[in-house]
C-alpha cells in the first residue's frame, strides 16, 4: 500500500512538472512520420522492478545469481539513517545520499571477498553519496590490482529505509601471470675482455597474483645471459595478519658481470691476459628485502622496505681507459672483496589509471628514496631519490597519449647497480634485467654529445612521449592489442660530468643527453602483458660510428 501511494505521488509530480512544449508549425519534412517514440505516453504500470530484498553474498557466487551469505553483515543503526539520507538538492543537480548497510561482492570465484573489500574505502554505517568520485576511483583501483577483467559497482536496497548495500560485481582474470618476459640480443664481452658482436639474453618473471584467492602474490623471476644469472623470489600479502598493512619479502641472488672502458682499455688482471677491449667486473649479490605498506587513500600507497645484501666483487688489479682526450683509471664503482649493503627505502605510489596494462587515462606516480647508512651495517653510504610520473589521456580520435617524466639522483658512495644506467633510459639498448647488465655499448649518441663517455651516472632525467593506437579489444585470451610509438630525450651524468666534463667536447656537446625512440606492439593477454619493441634491434645499426 505504501509503495502504491509513493507511485501515485510521483505520477502527480510528473503531471505538475511536465515540460511545456511550444507550438510549432510543421515545415516540409523528408520521411514523413513522426519518430515513433517521441510522444509515447508514459505507461502507468512501472516496467522497472524494485530491487530484490537484500541478499547476502559470498565468495564464489556467480555474477548473475543472488548471493547467499552476507559479506559484511550489518545491524543497521537505529538513528543514523534519517539525518544523512535522502535527496540533496544543489544548483544544477540532484544528489542522493544513503546510509551504507553493507558491501556485497559478486562474481568472485577464486578471490576472497575480503580481498575485494580491502580496496573499497567505505564501511557499514558510512554515508554514501552516489556522486562521490571515490566510487569511480574504487572501480579503477580494483581494476588496477590485475585480479579482475571487469568491475561494476551498483546499489541495492538495504533492510531499512534509507539504507543501501553496495554491490561490487567482478569478472576475474587469470591470476597466474607473466609479469615480464625478456628476450633480446646484446653485445657484451667475453670473460677475457674481448668484445663479442652479438649474444642472446632472456628471462621470465611469473607470479600467482592471487594465491588461493587470498590476494597473496607469490612469484619468481630468472634472468640468464652468458656467465650471468639473476634470481628473485617474491611474496606479497596485501592483508598481513588480517590488517590493512601490506607485507612483502624478496630474496635475491645475482651472479653478474659488467663491462668498463670507453677506448684504449688497459687492464691488469690475471683473467684478462690477452684481449682487453673492456675491463670486466665480476660480482655476486645475495640478500633479501622485507617491507610493509599502507594505503593513504583509494589511489595512494606508502611502503617502507629494509634490504640487506652481501656483495662479493672481483676487480681487476688496475685498469685505465680514455675519457675524452685523457687517460684515466677506471672506477668500477663497487668495493673489492666482500662488503655489505644495508638500505632503508620509502616508496610512494599514486595510481589512478583506469587499467594496469593498456590504460587510456589516469596518472601513475612512483617515488622512492633509499638511504644506505653505516649505522645500518652498510659498507656503502648514500642516499638515492628517484621519481617517475606518467599521465595518460585519451585523444578525440580514440588514440592514447602518454606523457612521462623520470628524474633521480644518487648522493654518496653507491654500488654501480644502484646508479642510473644508460640502457634503462635509451630504448635502443637493452634494459637491465633483475639488475643484470647485458650490454657493453654506450648510448647511440644521436645528438653528438659526451653521452658516449657515460654508462652509469649519479643523476638521470628523461622526458618521454608515447602514442598508442588501439587495434583490438577482446574479452577472451587476448584483452587488447595496441601499436605504439614513443620518443624522448634523456640525460645521465656523474657529478664530475657536470663540473669537469670530458676533455675534447665543447659547447652543447658537453651536456650528456641523447634522443631515444621505440616502436612496437603492446599486448594484454590472459597470460600477462607483453611489449614487442623494435628499437632494441634498431640499436645495432651504427650511429655516428658508435659500434
Amino acid at each position: 500500500m505504501a509503495r502504491h501511494a509513493t507511485r501515485l505521488v510521483c505520477l502527480l509530480t510528473l503531471v505538475a512538472i511536465a515540460p511545456r512544449t511550444s507550438r510549432a508549425e510543421p515545415i516540409k519534412t523528408w520521411g514523413g512520420e513522426t519518430p515513433a517514440d517521441v510522444a509515447t505516453p508514459e505507461p502507468s504500470a512501472p516496467t522497472t522492478e524494485p530491487p530484490p530484498a537484500p541478499p547476502p553474498a559470498t565468495i564464489g557466487t556467480p555474477i548473475d545469481e543472488p548471493p547467499t551469505v552476507p559479506v559484511t553483515p550489518v545491524a543497521p543503526p537505529e538513528d543514523a539513517a534519517a539525518a544523512t539520507t535522502g535527496v540533496v538538492r544543489a544548483p544544477g543537480r540532484v544528489g542522493l545520499r544513503y546510509t551504507l548497510e553493507g558491501i556485497e561482492v559478486r562474481g568472485n570465484t577464486s578471490t576472497l571477498a575480503r580481498v575485494v573489500l580491502r580496496y573499497v574505502p567505505l564501511k557499514a554505517g558510512d554515508t554514501l553519496d552516489v556522486d562521490d568520485k571515490e566510487l569511480e576511483l574504487t572501480r579503477f583501483r580494483l581494476l588496477g590490482t590485475g585480479y579482475f577483467r571487469d568491475v561494476r559497482l551498483s546499489l541495492r536496497r538495504g533492510t531499512r529505509r534509507g539504507f543501501v548495500v553496495l554491490v561490487v560485481s567482478v569478472v576475474e582474470r587469470n591470476t597466474i601471470v607473466v609479469n615480464d618476459l625478456w628476450l633480446g640480443l646484446s653485445t657484451d664481452a667475453d670473460p677475457s675482455g674481448a668484445a663479442r658482436p652479438l649474444t642472446a639474453y632472456g628471462g621470465i618473471d611469473i607470479a600467482e597474483t592471487n594465491l588461493a584467492g587470498t590476494g597473496v602474490s607469490l612469484g619468481g623471476a630468472v634472468a640468464l645471459a652468458d656467465s650471468q644469472i639473476g634470481l628473485r623470489t617474491r611474496f606479497v600479502n596485501p592483508q598481513f595478519l588480517g590488517s590493512s598493512w601490506t607485507a612483502e619479502a624478496v630474496l635475491l641472488y645475482n651472479n653478474a658481470r659488467d663491462f668498463f672502458g670507453n677506448k684504449d682499455v688497459l687492464v691488469d688482471d690475471p683473467r684478462q691476459q690477452i684481449s682487453q677491449d673492456y675491463a670486466v667486473l665480476q660480482y655476486r649479490r645475495f640478500g633479501g628485502m622485507v617491507g610493509a605498506g599502507h594505503d593513504l587513500g583509494v589511489s595512494t600507497q606508502l611502503f617502507f622496505d629494509y634490504r640487506m645484501e652481501k656483495l662479493d666483487a672481483s676487480l681487476p688489479l688496475a685498469a685505465s681507459h680514455h675519457r675524452g682526450l685523457d687517460v684515466e683509471p677506471i672506477d668500477f664503482q663497487i668495493a673489492p672483496g666482500t662488503t655489505l649493503l644495508s638500505t632503508l627505502r620509502a616508496t610512494l605510489i599514486h595510481d589512478t589509471r583506469d587499467e594496469p596494462v593498456l590504460p587510456t587515462r589516469g596518472d601513475h606516480l612512483y617515488l622512492y628514496a633509499d638511504a644506505a647508512l653505516a649505522p645500518l651495517g652498510s659498507d656503502y653510504s648514500y642516499v638515492k631519490i628517484h621519481a617517475r610520473a606518467s599521465h595518460w589521456m585519451p585523444l578525440k580520435w580514440g588514440h592514447v597519449l602518454r606523457l612521462e617524466g623520470n628524474a633521480g639522483g644518487v648522493f654518496g658512495n653507491a654500488p654501480l647497480f644502484e646508479k642510473f644506467y644508460v640502457g634503462d633510459y635509451s630504448d635502443l639498448l637493452p634494459d637491465r634485467v633483475l639488475d643484470l647488465n647485458f650490454d657493453r655499448r654506450t648510448s647511440p649518441n644521436f645528438l653528438g654529445t659526451d653521452i658516449v663517455e657515460v654508462r652509469y651516472g649519479q643523476y638521470a632525467a628523461k622526458a618521454n612521449l608515447e602514442y598508442r593506437i588501439p587495434l583490438y579489444r577482446g574479452t577472451r585470451s587476448v584483452y587488447g592489442v595496441d601499436v605504439f610509438t614513443s620518443a624522448g630525450i634523456f640525460a645521465i651524468a656523474d657529478a664530475r660530468d657536470l663540473s669537469q666534463h670530458a676533455r675534447g667536447y665543447t659547447g652543447f656537446a658537453t651536456i650528456p643527453i641523447d634522443f631515444t625512440f621505440n616502436l612496437g606492439l603492446k599486448i594484454d593477454t590472459q597470460a600477462g602483458a607483453f611489449t614487442l619493441g623494435l628499437s632494441n634491434l634498431l640499436g645495432f645499426v651504427p650511429i655516428r660510428g658508435n659500434p
Binding site: 512538472i17 510549432a24 510543421p26 514523413g32 519518430p35 509515447t40 522497472t48 580520435w397 580514440g398 645499426v541
Partner: protein, 219 residues
C-alpha cells in the same frame, strides 16, 4: 642472420599484425553523409528551427538494466547542423541528462541540461527515462540566418552514455548557458572540430557512443 634482416622481418610482422587488426575494426565514416540515417521532424518556431528525433537505441539492454544500479548515469547528446557536402558544422545544440535511481522512493531523478530544458524531473520507470533522455522533442537547433537558403542541411548527432571526460561535460554545460537559438559555432568554440575529430568512434571515452544523421531539410 644480420640484425638488419631481423629488424626488417620484425617490422614487416608488426605492420602485418597492425593492418590485420585494423581491418577487423568496422569501417569508420569519413564524411557526415556516411553516418547511418534516421528520421527527424523539423518545425519552424518563428526563425528558430526545432527538431524532434529519437535515439532510444543508445540504451541497450545491459545499459537499461544499469539504470537501476543506484549510481548516476549520464546521457549526453550533441547535434551538429551540417550543409550537404560540407564537413564543417554550422551550428550545435547540446543536451545532457543525468539519471539517478532513488532506491527507496523507486523513482528516477533526472536532471536535464540544455537549451530550454534545464530542470529536474522524476519519472517512475525506464520508459520515462527514455522519453526524457533518449528523445529530442522540439529541440531548438539553429536560427534561420545561420542557414544557407536553398541549400540542403541535415543534423548529425553524437550521443554518449557516461562520457568519461569531465572536460567535455563542462564544455557542454558552458554551451547550454547561451541564449536559446544562439547555436552558431566557429573555430574558436570548444566543441568545434572537424567531422572526423568529432564523429569517428572514440575508444574508451564513454560506455557507449551512438552517431547518426537525419534526413536533409532545405530552409
Amino acid at each position: 642472420v644480420s640484425p638488419r634482416a631481423v629488424f626488417a622481418w620484425l617490422s614487416l610482422a608488426v605492420a602485418l599484425v597492425a593492418v590485420d587488426a585494423r581491418a577487423q575494426q568496422p569501417a569508420q565514416p569519413t564524411a557526415p553523409q556516411q553516418l547511418p540515417s534516421r528520421q527527424a521532424n523539423y518545425a519552424w518556431d518563428k526563425t528558430l528551427l526545432r527538431a524532434s528525433f529519437s535515439f532510444r537505441d543508445v540504451l541497450d539492454k545491459p545499459l537499461t538494466a544499469r539504470l537501476t544500479s543506484g549510481l548516476p548515469m549520464v546521457i549526453a547528446m550533441r547535434a551538429y547542423v551540417f550543409r550537404e557536402n560540407d564537413p564543417t558544422p554550422v551550428a550545435l545544440t547540446v543536451r545532457t541528462c543525468s539519471i539517478k535511481f532513488d532506491l527507496w522512493e523507486e523513482v528516477f531523478r533526472v536532471t536535464l541540461t540544455g537549451q530550454g530544458v534545464d530542470g529536474e524531473r522524476a519519472v517512475i520507470n525506464a520508459e520515462g527515462v527514455l522519453r526524457l533522455c533518449a528523445e529530442a522533442r522540439n529541440l531548438p537547433i539553429v536560427d534561420r540566418p545561420l542557414l544557407t537558403a536553398g541549400a540542403a542541411h541535415f543534423l548529425a548527432a553524437i550521443v554518449d552514455v557516461n562520457p568519461v571526460s569531465p572536460q567535455v561535460l563542462e564544455q557542454m554545460r558552458q554551451w547550454v548557458a547561451r541564449p536559446t537559438g544562439s547555436t552558431g559555432i566557429g573555430p574558436g568554440d570548444a566543441l568545434f572540430g572537424s567531422f572526423v575529430g568529432l564523429f569517428v568512434r572514440q575508444i574508451g571515452t564513454s560506455d557507449k557512443t551512438l552517431t547518426f544523421r537525419t534526413q536533409a531539410f532545405t530552409p
